[in-house]
């Protein structure tokens, strides 16, 4: 028994070792780059020991060593240099630039990582430094305005709610556009909508993205669809967000403690009535404490991170609590065998308010003028009871969500030879969520839903979801080089399996004061299961030609259990070419290269897929409990020919770097065709059958992606970088396979619709069209606009002074799309807001005949974050570093209309379903957060 606990000492031992190495003499010195500029943060390590340190802000270091030992100086982008210690006491080192090393290695695809310059596809990368400065701790919020070609809309300010994420357009009418999320090679639950049996709050729904572990991230790679995702197979057509966590670095162990304190205030810019805010909003406090521990020897490195977070929201009833810890480690077991592991635990508790499509929502009731009440016209005496009632409701609303998520990854690397390597990854993600909605009698009475004195109508709904994903991957990478050619060959197999099990328990007719389901006189239960396995073999060959051009081809043979009996595995090919014109020696030696330093041409073609919901291929029958008796009926008609839909993407790109890459421009043209697109056309009603998903549609996306990265200032003291991106997307439903248009959101008179010749989910409604004679003609099913803005991008600006003060600003924008202001429509229906409707129409016909007057541009420009940090360096002993940060989130918003075109939570209700976001309604916008942080490092 005693022995079994020995392993517990392992990590402690490592720590101990790293602090207690015997030292005989002290060497100090200064490290500079090729231009003589001091380099802070250079790793200085005594070779073959765990003894190490880092240079300070002036490039100085001090380390204790024995004579004859070797010091190794390494720094990213510089060639690693070694010096043997003699009898001197000062060793100054000038590192040389390492052009090859500067080229980032992208983990994309399977197999070993690959240098960016060899890739024909583009990848957006978010580095540790940029991640750490962001105040957000939700992956979608982090990527917003930082991933240059992603369009991320936060659909509600309620805590932990779903967002709409997309890059190259909506590729599917059958599924969400949320990318697959992979943490250290392991797929994790990315459900970015309400679960099938989840608790609907009328609108905004909790999302699994809220509890993706974001602690200890080393880098995030956002891989857009197309050829870049071919090897991932399965449902990778929406792209991949790949998260690589920290495993620690060899050298001196570091410990940090960080405390963040902030104020969360509602964004009230868009309120129709100030009084809505007066009743519902209440600034909240946000607190977070983080600790981190990292270090290791050459053979073993480790990283630990833990945090506790709490905020009590901007809305009087919201609250969220997050507890996380992560650890990662890397062990060089033998010369040839390396083992890396990571584990994270996240617990996320939040509560939501009712919003949008429910009469219980205070926000949508006030803003939509429920009951014909115009809050501005009420006297103070009329208002106070209403306000107090809303506040009372706020005390009584009880919708909670509690999530626990465990993610573990193991990676084994075995080098058979220097050129032949095997990689194996296996890991799991397990996420459980318990949601509860308690409608107490007191709440129902306060809402006016039940008469005063009601005591036996309370209801409790509990939704349980457990989602388990196991991922496994084994691949072999072989590298061979001849004088002029380089060959990288990857061959591998991958599988993942998902089991999503949901249960819902409901009790009704209860009294107040209990959350025990069997205390409710009437109970019911429901369950829902999704299970699927996906597996495939993949192959990739990357041929380097004179180390300037790279030809890449490969493919994946992909099989999913979500396919009909009569189908065979899908073969997904990819091919790409990259030509680094500027890497030719003659070019580099020419003077012209000082002006135009990088020229890279890229082109590729690749296929990626999306599968349907599990079991949709099966013919099934339903057995319902109808009045407590079993009742059969038809269910899914079945489709033995069901296969994944395939997105075929062609991409061309050009990258230019001017003035020694101080100014970088990148342009990409893409065209993606979704063939065999999964549509669930409305069955002929005469069949009396459920609608069956079929591979009958075709969707097309094409557009441009431009990015500019400029080092505006680059002096010893001043550094300023400006990044700007602009993207376009034209989305078109080429074919619905003969089916009639169908509504995917909204209403019959004004809906988000899928129809041939239009964009997915475009807005269609009855429009009042002004005629020459001044009268109006009412045209049903008129085109009212595209719900997704076809133009979007982001902007970021960084400035740092003397490596001490740094300031950054991020923002994003979109234009060209349309959105319905549903609150306005409701206010109009309720007779309190005629502001946008022509006077001559008022009272002459139903407002449903002029829905076009409630549809507006969804253009916006929003500053998402402004941050300022001051680095005290080692001025505050005993800390080796102290950093103070201040930031504000969502400080400035500029929108075309008087409402927030992002607040569209009500459209993300179906599990994994398509969300158009064409209706702004009834939920609060993302709040303003003023945050301060103080980080101490030992």
């Amino acid at each position: 028994m005693k022995n079994k606990k020995l392993w517990l000492w392992g990590p402690l031992l490592v720590l101990f070792m790293s602090f207690s190495y015997a030292q005989e003499k002290t060497i100090s010195g200064n490290v500079t780059d090729q231009d003589g500029v001091p380099l802070p943060g250079v790793s200085v390590l005594v070779v073959d020991t765990t003894n190490g340190t880092q240079t300070d802000f002036d490039g100085n270091y001090t380390i204790g060593v024995n004579e004859g030992q070797v010091l190794r100086f390494s720094y990213i982008g510089q060639k690693t240099t070694e010096r043997t210690v003699g009898n001197e006491s000062t060793i100054n080192v000038q590192l040389e630039e390492d052009a090859q090393a500067l080229e980032e290695v992208i983990v994309t695809g399977q197999g070993s990582g690959i240098q960016r310059r060899k890739l024909s596809t583009t990848v957006d990368v978010l580095t540790e430094e940029k991640i750490d400065r962001l105040p957000a701790n939700q992956i979608d919020q982090m990527l917003q305005a930082t991933a240059p070609s992603a369009q991320i809309r936060l659909s509600s300010g309620q805590p932990g709610t779903a967002s709409i994420i997309r890059t190259r357009g909506a590729i599917s009418a059958a599924s969400s556009s949320t990318p697959v999320i992979i943490v250290d090679g392991i797929r994790v639950d990315n459900l970015n909508s309400n679960a099938r049996l989840g608790i609907a709050t009328g609108g905004a729904n909790v999302s699994a993205l809220a509890d993706i572990p974001v602690e200890s991230i080393e880098r995030i790679e956002y891989i857009k669809g197309g050829a870049a995702t071919t090897l991932y197979g399965a449902d990778a057509a929406n792209g991949i967000i790949q998260i690589i966590t920290k495993k620690g670095k060899a050298g001196k162990g570091t410990v940090f403690f960080e405390s963040k304190l902030g104020v969360i205030k509602a964004t009230d810019d868009y309120l129709k009535y100030k009084r809505t805010g007066e009743a519902i909003f209440q600034p909240g406090i946000s607190q977070e404490y983080r600790v981190g521990l990292s270090g290791g020897s050459e053979k073993f490195t480790y990283n630990f991170g833990g945090s506790l977070y709490k905020d009590d929201g901007f809305n009087d009833l919201n609250e969220q609590v997050r507890r996380t810890f992560t650890f990662g480690y890397s062990a060089q077991v033998t010369d040839k065998f390396k083992y890396q592991g990571s584990f994270s635990y996240v617990s996320f508790d939040s509560n939501l308010d009712y919003n949008a499509n429910t009469s219980f929502s205070r926000f949508s009731a006030f803003e939509g003028a429920a009951g014909g009440v115009n809050l501005d016209e009420l006297t103070e005496e009329e208002w106070i009871p209403l306000r107090d009632n809303a506040r009372e409701i706020g005390e009584l609303v009880d919708i909670t969500s509690r999530t626990s998520r465990f993610t573990g990854s193991n990676k084994f690397v075995y080098d058979f030879t220097d050129n032949f390597q095997a990689n194996a990854v296996v890991g799991i993600d397990y996420r459980t969520t318990v949601q509860e909605e308690l409608q107490s009698n007191a709440l129902l009475v306060a809402l006016g839903s039940r008469p005063q004195g009601t005591t036996d109508k309370a209801s409790l709904t509990r939704a349980l979801r457990a989602n388990f994903i196991v991922t496994g991957d084994l691949n072999f990478t072989h590298k061979a080089n001849t004088e002029n050619f380089g060959f990288t060959t990857i061959l591998g197999g991958q599988f993942f399996r998902t089991a999503d099990r949901q249960n819902q328990l409901s009790g009704s007719g209860g009294v107040d004061g209990t959350r025990k389901i069997d205390f409710f006189p009437t109970q019911s239960a429901a369950d829902f299961v999704l299970e699927n396995a996906n597996y495939g073999l993949y192959f990739l060959e990357n041929i380097g030609i004179y180390n300037v051009a790279f030809l890449e081809f490969g493919g994946r043979l992909d099989k999913s259990t979500v396919s009909g009996e009569g189908t065979s595995p899908l073969l997904l090919p990819k091919v790409g070419i990259t030509y680094n014109v500027s890497d030719h020696d003659f070019y580099q030696n020419s003077n012209f290269s000082n002006f135009l330093s990088t020229i890279r041409l890229r082109a590729n073609y690749g296929e990626a897929t999306n599968f349907a919901e599990p079991f949709e291929q099966d013919k099934t029958f339903e057995l319902a409990s109808f009045l407590d008796r079993p009742a059969f009926s038809f269910a899914n008609p079945g489709n033995p020919l069901l296969v994944s839909e395939t997105v075929k993407t062609t991409e061309y790109g050009l990258e230019l770097g001017f003035f020694r890459n101080r100014l970088n421009l990148s342009g990409t043209r893409y065209k993606g065709n979704t063939v065999d697109a999964l549509f669930t056309p409305v069955a002929k009603p005469s069949e009396g059958a459920q609608n069956q998903i079929q591979n009958i549609g075709e969707v097309q996306n094409e557009g441009w992606e431009f990015e500019m990265r400029a080092a505006v200032l680059q002096s010893e003291k001043h550094q300023m970088n400006l990044n700007v991106s602009y993207n376009t997307n034209e989305n078109l439903v080429v074919s619905t396979g003969g089916g009639a248009p169908f509504v995917v959101g909204g209403f019959n008179v004004l809906g988000s619709v899928v129809a041939e010749g239009q964009s997915l989910g475009y807005l269609r409604g009855t429009a009042a069209v002004l005629q020459d004679d001044g009268s109006y003609e009412f045209v049903t099913n008129s085109f009212l606009g595209d719900t997704f803005a076809p133009n979007f991008g982001s902007v970021s600006l960084d400035y740092s002074w003397n490596n001490k003060i740094s300031i950054f600003v991020t923002g994003d924008y979109q234009f060209g799309g349309k959105i319905t202001d549903l609150s306005l429509l409701l206010r109009h229906l309720r007779g309190v807001d005629d502001s946008t409707v022509p006077e001559e129409l008022l009272g002459t016909t139903s407002p449903f005949n002029y829905t076009n007057f409630f549809v507006f541009d969804n253009d916006y420009f929003k500053i998402r974050n402004i941050g300022l940090s001051y680095d005290f360096g080692d001025a505050l002993k005993p800390f080796s570093n102290v950093k103070l940060g201040l930031s504000v989130t969502n400080p400035f918003n500029f929108t075309a209309g008087n409402f927030d075109p992002e607040a569209t939570g009500s459209g993300i209700a179906a599990q994994g379903g398509f969300a158009s976001g064409g209706f702004a309604y009834g939920t609060e916008s993302s709040p303003r957060i003023y945050m301060s942080s103080l980080k101490f490092q030992f």
């Binding site: 009951g371 399996r497 699927n532 099966d618 029958f621 059969f632 009639a740 139903s846």
Partner: protein, 482 residues
């Protein structure tokens, strides 16, 4: 030692290769927890479960048809965004998804009845003639609803549109089979009476209605609704009473508002229990009496008609009246006092039709209610005034049951999902184009219109549909006995 280790390794390797262990590492096995056909067909007692499934489907049928029919008629107006937004003005759009859903449920009723007759029943060792009779009855009902609500509708998946009169005829064939298999069921007989009534076959209608009353003079057949069963099984369906939600359950959302002349009858459906919603009384003795009364009036036999109506009053007096708290509603339509909500209100010169919902519980008939009085019956005449009284009574007795729409000669249309995908139907076929009697389309936008002066309490409906119907009694679309 080495030997032992290698032996153990070998044994372990062997075990792991057996089938027994392969399930541990087989990651491709998935199991669909729902039901396959083998669990439904060929199993003992599957007919009774299938029949309960059909009864559930009846709830779906009524959920789809009632809202459309009540909005399309003068009974109700939709003042919110939930529920259909086109039918109030009798705008029949082939792209209206509610039309699609209504047609689908009628078709599903037919397909389920057929599947019961062809597969489930014959495969069930416990199959009875009563069950076979019911399968035939529900098949007949699907044809009957097709005839009542559509000018023409297919009888097969992807089939050609069959005219209403043929659908009615096929309904009669199915009802007769049911009656032969299980005589003595009032619902079979009244359904037969109703079809004959709408076909204008007075003799057959009277015979079937009389036969039904002879079995039980106060019969009441209901479609039941489950209040707490999950929605969406099958897809897009709701086993709770949707009309109850529209009239009552959505509390402060006053979705559907009745014509003020019918205020005292609303909401017919109110909270029953946590497990069950209020039923729809879809084939009740009142209908047989009203058919007899109309037949007698058309024959000039006033005394017999008076007897029928007296029986009707007596019957209605025995029906349940529910005392409900409707104070949450209050006819505000988002604008306080915009609709009649007080007992002082006089509608079209008549008093006592509007209730005050804010002074305690209100008494609302849950099966049938009427403003008809013994004095009204005494002064009944065989002329148009008598017919108007009869039609007013039909409107009141059948409120929220979907018959008023049919009485007004209205029909829905086949939706575009059918016309686009069904090779046998084109957009110009019978059934695909709206057929609205001209005398109704002329007043389509005024069907629900009222003028109301809250101060004086005077409310007036802009049109009197009963008057219009009677004035056009010779039209083939309305008053089938004339």
């Amino acid at each position: 030692m080495k030997k032992i280790v290698s032996t153990i390794c070998m044994v372990l390797l062997l075990i792991s290769c057996t089938d027994n262990f392969s399930s541990v590492v087989d990651f491709t096995k998935v199991e669909n927890p729902t039901l396959s056909e083998a669990s439904v067909v060929g199993q003992p007692n599957s007919s009774v479960i299938w029949l309960d499934g059909i009864k559930q489907n009846m709830a779906f049928v009524y959920n789809e048809l009632l809202v459309l029919a009540e909005l399309g008629s003068d009974n109700y107006v939709n003042t919110q965004t939930f529920y259909n937004q086109f039918l109030d003005n009798l705008t029949l759009l082939s792209a209206d998804p509610d039309l699609r859903d209504a047609t689908r449920e009628v078709a599903r009723l037919r397909e389920m009845a057929k599947f019961g007759l062809e597969f489930v029943g014959p495969g069930d060792s416990e199959y009875s003639s009563e069950q076979e009779a019911d399968f035939n009855f529900y098949l007949g009902l699907s044809y009957m609803y097709a005839g009542m609500y559509f000018p023409a509708l297919p009888q097969e998946p992807g089939g050609a549109a069959i005219s209403a009169s043929q659908n009615y005829q096929d309904a009669l064939v199915a009802f007769d089979k049911a009656i032969a298999l299980n005589p003595g069921q009032t619902r079979y007989l009244l359904a037969k009476a109703r079809v004959n009534y709408y076909l204008g076959d007075k003799t057959a209608a009277v015979a079937a209605a009389t036969a039904a009353l002879a079995i039980d003079d106060s019969f009441d057949n209901i479609v039941r609704f489950d209040a707490d069963a999950p929605t969406g099984t099958p897809d897009g369906t709701n086993p709770a009473n949707v009309m109850e939600s529209a009239l009552y359950q959505r509390a402060t959302f006053d979705d559907l508002q009745p014509l003020p002349t019918l205020d005292f009858l609303d909401p017919k459906y109110s909270f029953l229990s946590d497990g069950e919603d209020a039923p729809v009384h879809y084939l009740k003795a009142e209908e047989a009496l009203l058919i007899l009364a109309e037949a007698n009036l058309s024959d000039g036999n006033v005394a017999a008609a008076q007897d029928n109506l007296t029986d009707l009053l007596e019957l209605i007096a025995t029906r349940e009246v529910r005392s409900i708290d409707d104070s949450i509603e209050g006819r505000t339509e988002g604008m306080p006092r915009s609709r009649p909500d007080s007992t002082i209100v006089v509608v079209n010169g008549r008093e006592g039709l509007v209730l005050n919902r804010h002074s305690g519980d209100v008494e609302i008939p849950s099966v049938s209610g009427t403003s008809l009085t013994a004095e009204d019956i005494e002064s009944l005449t065989a002329d148009d005034d008598g017919l108007e009284l009869l039609y007013r009574t039909r409107q009141e007795v059948f409120i929220a049951e979907g018959l008023r729409f049919v009485d007004m000669g209205l029909k829905l249309i086949i939706d575009e999902n059918e016309t686009l995908q069904n090779e046998n139907i084109s957009e110009t076929d019978l059934g695909a184009v709206p057929l609205i009697p001209s005398f109704i389309s002329a007043v389509a936008s005024d069907l629900d219109a009222i003028t109301y002066d809250a101060a004086t309490g005077v409310a007036t409906t802009v049109v009197d549909v009963n008057k219009i119907l009677v004035a056009n009694k010779t039209s083939p679309e309305v008053l089938p006995f004339h």
